[in-house]
């Protein structure tokens, strides 16, 4: 797969295309230019390192939305085995923007639930751009309750621009569906490990993101509203999205500093989309460590710790009432 480059990667893109040309020339050239290619490849890696070393939050949100970024089903095939997809909310429909089912993680049965985006136009529409409707949250909840019944840990993968803002979604109780998940996940009697793999967009993300461990991939984002949405409300102009991204604090680094997430999972050089297999390896290791924490932990402790975590969210001060 040919890497597609983002605007701020122009210098890397230029260099890569030069390398590509040289490789092409090498094929029918008598002169050996492999040294030159190697030199340029090193230079490209160095350049990528430099560019990625100082990404702005807005640039990171572009990487998080990269069209080649690995999605839930990619991780399912790279990290898990024996995936048995389970469909439907048993009430209305099967939402394709959320996938889920039973799978084995290092041989251990688990429940996997995640948002799913599409790659090409057709699939994007099929997946509704990763924006779930109420039946998606209800399917997710049904699978979580199933996991609870059989004592299976739940692993969720978050990657959505947000809940679908459509007439039908409202008619079928979008608000209730999200709220119900928040309520039920607060007291689900099995460990829930949450990973933000791309875009953690608002309520649509949170509806499967209440858990015992919340980790983020290095270039994923997690926010209460998209930078564009925030900019158009507060600045009255979507053009101010970079400023909004900066001030809202949407990156893994910032959220870790604020104590809102537990861990950052590092991505391969140039982002997860450059090397799906390496990304999956890094994520697998992190999931393994996360899961180990709950080995033999009594359910009461699990729930008490989760409750404490939930109650701990927020920054305020206390002062004497006058």
């Amino acid at each position: 797969m040919k890497t597609s480059f983002l605007d701020f990667e122009q210098s890397i893109a230029d260099l890569e295309s030069k390398i590509e040309q040289l490789r092409y020339a090498q094929d029918d050239s008598a002169v050996d230019i492999s040294d030159e290619i190697e030199r340029l490849e090193k230079k490209s890696a160095q350049l990528t390192k430099e560019v990625y070393g100082k990404l702005t939050p807005w640039q990171i949100s572009q990487v998080a939305r990269h069209p080649q970024r690995p999605y839930t089903l990619d991780y399912l095939s790279l990290i898990f085995t024996d995936f048995e997809e389970l469909h439907g909310d048993r009430a209305f429909a099967d939402d394709h923007a959320i996938v889920g089912g039973l799978a084995r993680f290092n041989g251990q049965p688990v429940m996997v639930i995640g948002h799913q985006k599409g790659r090409d136009t057709k699939e994007k529409i099929y997946r509704n751009f990763g924006m779930p409707r109420p039946e998606g949250y209800r399917k997710a909840l049904r699978l979580m309750k199933l996991a609870e019944k059989f004592g299976l840990p739940v692993m969720t993968f978050v990657d959505t621009p947000g809940a679908y803002p459509g007439i039908d979604a409202e008619e079928r109780g979008q608000s209730e569906a999200i709220g119900r998940n928040l309520y039920e996940m607060a007291e689900l009697k099995v460990p829930v490990i949450v990973t933000i793999i791309g875009e953690g967009g608002s309520g649509g993300a949170l509806a499967i993101a209440v858990g015992d461990v919340v980790q983020m991939l290095q270039y994923s984002t997690y926010s209460v509203i998209s930078p564009e949405g925030c900019a158009s409300i507060l600045w009255k102009s979507a053009e101010k999205a970079p400023e909004a991204a900066e001030t809202m604090g949407i990156t893994a680094q910032r959220l870790k500093t604020l104590g809102l997430i537990d861990k950052i999972v590092s991505e391969p050089l140039g982002g997860a989309h450059r090397d799906h297999a390496a990304m999956a390896q890094s994520l697998k290791k992190s999931l393994q460590e996360a899961l180990k924490q709950f080995d033999g932990m009594p359910t009461a402790d699990l729930l008490a710790t989760r409750y404490e975590r939930l109650m701990g969210y927020g920054r305020f001060k206390e002062q004497a009432v006058g």
């Binding site: 928040l182 309520g203 604020l258």
Partner: protein, 289 residues
């Protein structure tokens, strides 16, 4: 000032205890924004800011709401000591602390939720009400904490918890902290359920976004005021996304009742009685005389 207002003695111009709403014109007369009937202010106040001609429910401040819902005696405020901080140093066209200060000056409140322990017709409850005029009733860390403290008191004192919402959603100026309040507030309600205590959720105009999509709809009984705008995504956002005209009455209380999203629509003037009846039934108490 009109000649009519000038003629009036100051006492009549302002009823004590009732804050004047920015949405209502000043003076003795008021025009209903819905039916455009010209109303005598006293009539409107006697009708709890509901238009006596067409039944239009004007917005109410949080303290007025709680005044109308709760008995006069034995009230204690919960969580007033919790006040906001600017943890992100958030700045859009203006700084967050400036917005807070302005909201504080215009409402007299330090954040957008007021929680009181009190009673409805002698039945002890904890009741919370949103102050929409404080930054659009937006949900930030303070709101979440006050809500949780209210629920905790309800659990400890074995009382039902009631919340009256009026909110545009999450408070963007607190970034992800505000999103997490959805999880925090809703999680607290699991303890209320464990204790077998009711949570009555009363939705008023407007109840949107993160407030709608968290605790608002997990009420044991969900009540809405007539014609209130209630939903997750705002109507304009939906219109832009689907590029079609929204159906008549979309996201209004009557629409939600029809879709099965809420239990009942209650006129504000009957709300106190109705809540008391529902609570008595849920708690297996004798019917009030």
């Amino acid at each position: 000032m009109s000649w009519l207002t000038k003629l009036l003695p100051p006492k009549i111009k302002r009823e004590q205890g009732v804050q004047r709403r920015a949405s209502l014109p000043e003076g003795l007369w008021s025009k209903c924004p819905s039916c455009e009937a010209v109303l005598y202010m006293t009539d409107l106040e006697n009708n709890q800011q509901v238009c006596p001609k067409c039944g239009h429910h004007n917005r109410l401040g949080s303290r007025q709401r709680l005044d109308l819902l709760l008995d006069g005696e034995g009230r204690f405020e919960i969580g007033a000591e919790v006040v906001p901080v600017d943890s992100l140093k958030f700045k859009d066209s203006r700084k967050y602390p400036d917005r807070l200060m302005e909201a504080n000056q215009s409402t007299g409140e330090s954040d957008s939720l007021i929680v009181l322990q009190g009673a409805i017709k002698t039945l002890p409850v904890v009741a919370a009400a949103f102050e929409f005029d404080f930054m659009g009733g937006s949900m930030g860390s303070v709101l979440g904490e006050r809500f949780v403290r209210g629920v905790q008191v309800a659990v400890e004192q074995k009382m039902p918890f009631i919340c009256i919402t009026a909110s545009g959603g999450a408070r963007m100026q607190e970034g992800l902290f505000s999103l997490m309040q959805m999880a925090k507030t809703t999680a607290a309600l699991t303890k209320l359920s464990e204790a077998g205590l009711p949570f009555i959720s009363i939705l008023t105009d407007p109840t949107m976004g993160g407030v709608s999509a968290s605790f608002a709809f997990v009420g044991d009984v969900v009540i809405a005021e007539p014609n209130a705008l209630i939903g997750f995504a705002g109507p304009r956002v939906i219109e832009q996304t689907v590029r079609e005209k929204l159906p008549e009455g979309f996201q209004r209380s009557e629409f939600l009742l029809d879709k099965g999203a809420i239990d009942m629509i209650v006129d504000r003037r009957d709300l106190r009685d109705q809540v008391a009846r529902v609570l008595a039934l849920l708690q297996k108490l004798p019917a009030a005389a």
